[in-house]
């Protein structure tokens, strides 16, 4: 027992104090990449990837004319869909990005622009 104590006395692990600097996350919505200083999710989706996948989901919808789909097209006004189709598209986006969008938010997603913005800002988008 005494030897154990003697050994332990000799083994010292230095205690280092890290000066943690809390920098607020900068949200750059104009197309740049998100700067997250202490995030463990390093593989966040890039804006281009989100745009591409959202557009491909919308284009593969049977009632949609693919050539009319741009990054800011309104589902009901420009593509001539109705609210049921809107729900269907949001469900398809949920499946594509493995998200679960609450009803209140899902009702507001009316155009590709809003969908891209919502998914890009969602931390769990995959």
């Amino acid at each position: 027992m005494a030897m154990r104590a003697a050994i332990l006395r000799h083994i010292r692990i230095p205690v280092r104090s890290y000066a943690l600097e809390f920098k607020p996350r900068e949200l750059n919505l104009s197309g740049g990449s998100l700067m997250r200083f202490m995030s463990s999710h390093d593989e966040h989706l890039t804006k281009e990837e989100v745009v591409e996948r959202v557009l491909s989901v919308v284009k593969s919808f049977p009632k949609v004319d693919p050539s009319a789909v741009t990054t800011d097209v309104h589902f009901q006004k420009d593509l001539g869909l109705d609210s049921l189709d809107n729900v269907e598209i949001v469900m398809a986006l949920e499946e594509e990005f493995k998200l679960e969008i609450p009803d209140l938010e899902a009702d507001k997603i009316d155009s590709t622009g809003l969908a891209i913005e919502y998914i890009y800002n969602h931390p769990m988008a995959g």
Binding site: S83, M91, D103
Partner: protein, 94 residues
Amino acid sequence: MASAAAKSPTRLEVLSLFRSLLRTAHEFSDYNVREYTKRRTIDGFQSNRSLSDQQSISAAYANGKEQLAIVKRQAVIYSLYAPKVKSIMELKSV
């Protein structure tokens, strides 16, 4: 029986029922049943789009809610006996 005082479902409730049905359909482990449920809900809601009198709307809504309960139970039962091999339609590349 639906009484005369039964409130007609609001637009939001109908959309919420639609969404619940599609979400529950997504939980099926069997590809065929999943696709069928999605197709059937979409067709059912689309064919009832133009209903205008309150009683048929309430009846359709009540029917939808029953079907939702059925789909939820069936999703659980199907998951108990999930097939070990994925359907070929689910494989992205063959």
